[in-house]
């Protein structure tokens, strides 16, 4: 079983971190994983993305041409990557920052991640809300435990105060998804 995920948004939304936390958690499950950042001539306000491949076997290309999952945290990144999503792939979008209509018929997994994060008290945790929704949609409840552990481990000593809100964001995201929307695997 191999899952190829593109996480996209704009610089400052914690796109790289979201992918890294996912990759670290997969490593804790002893799975094969690759994380590949956008490292071109990126500009502030432009699109940022990273690509994560999770597998039980040796991973070939870390670069993704055809994604199983696309997470888009803003509109420009949705436009940039939606043609790379497989026909039967899962699209997860941040409806706070994009028009649901532009996501087309796959827009059923649209949630206002940024607004929810604001409601929790810090817009920066929108990435963790989205990661929570991703876990629920792909039925990775077991991985959730490891992601919570990674959040604890990677917080720098002087920022331990951020651990709780990030954990809360992840759990809130997971609760957004109604059971019938979750992919059966």
């Amino acid at each position: 079983m191999e899952e190829r995920i593109i996480i996209s948004g704009s610089g400052g939304q914690g796109i790289m971190l979201m992918g890294k936390i996912l990759a670290e958690a997969c490593l804790k499950e002893n799975r094969q994983v690759t994380w590949m950042p956008a490292y071109g001539a990126e500009v502030r306000g432009g699109t940022a993305y990273c690509m994560v491949v999770i597998s039980d076997e040796e991973i070939g290309s870390p670069y993704i041409n055809e994604a199983d999952i696309l997470v888009s945290m803003n509109e420009p990144s949705l436009y940039k990557f939606k043609k790379r999503l497989k026909k039967e792939g899962i699209l997860i979008v941040n409806s706070s920052l994009l028009n649901k209509l532009s996501a087309g018929r796959k827009a059923r997994n649209a949630y206002p991640f940024s607004d929810i994060a604001l409601g929790l008290g810090n817009i920066k945790v929108a990435n963790m809300v989205a990661l929570g929704a991703y876990l629920a949609l792909t039925k990775k409840s077991a991985l959730k435990k490891n992601i919570l552990r990674v959040i604890e481990e990677i917080a720098p000593p002087d920022k331990k105060g951020l651990v709780e809100i990030n954990k809360k964001a992840l759990l809130t995201g997971a609760q957004l998804v109604s059971p019938h929307n979750a992919r059966t695997q």
Partner: protein, 356 residues
Amino acid sequence: MAKSKILMTGNEAIALGAIDAGCRFYAGYPITPQNELTAFMAKNMPKAGGVFIQAESELAAVNMVLGASAAGARAMTSSSSPGISLKQEGISYIAGCRLPAVIVNVMRGGPGLGNIMPAQSDYFQATRSGGHGDYHCLVLAPYSVQEAYDFMFKAFALADKYRNPVMILGDGMLGQMMEPLQLSDNRKTGNQKPKTKIWMLTGCRGRKPNVVKSFYLQEGDLEKFNLTLQKEYRLIRQNEQLYEGIFLKDAKIIIVAYGTMARIAKGAVKKLRKAGKKIGLIRPISLWPFPGNIFRRLAASPKRLSFLVVEMSYGQMIEDVLLSLNGKSPVEFLGRSGGGIPSEEEIINKIKILMK
């Protein structure tokens, strides 16, 4: 229980591998896509009791490595394509002085300043010596973060064994991606005194002076020196050919790819095998010496074989494949460069056309 793994970029893994292999001198000058390597060295080399220098230029960096190596230290430098071009004079001098050193090239697209997307456009430069003079660097091409780490041990060992520069040839994708990494059981931590090497320059009180030079004025001396080098190169060609082969036994078409290109090719081969197609893969690991023996062996077998060379260039390693096969098997090519990376799908399509 297996030791736990850590998640790391290829660039960081190369730097950590070097320190763990006993490298205690690094000089470099920043350039993407290898900056994480230099940054890791800046942070960790002093902690290991070694020397980190951000030099004023690539030329200065490579010549500092020459000096550190002459004094017996395990020394290295790193850069990306245009920076490696600048270092070529120093690499030639290192080879001419018969000094061990490791040079890392995290390749980007070219020519000129090019761009920072992954590419394999420096194969010729790496394997055909690059600088002036009739010399060779040993060249190793890792294809995963684990190999990026592991090959640093091998690189320093080979450099010492043959008193010759060794190049690690990676690309932007390998440098930037993160993968799980298992650290070695033989990590060299803390201060590493230079190993005693009979030729090293340590001050000659009480003994005959050692001489490290690449300058031979007396008639016949340079030729004699070059013949010594050639003798070493013959040994290297005999002993150090490395490759990985999969599905070679019953393959009808064998894909040849190295570095990160080989990861993508391997993915394609696995998919083709699942579809019942008899495709194999040779992944050269040492690019110089090129693992020509396996090609010669395969070409000598009675069954009809053909080869497809896939590169992130417009055809460089293919020349070594052609030389090794010496016209005995047909060779096809698929390549892109300048930011384009041949995808699994492109490789599969090419194979399907070839099988028709």
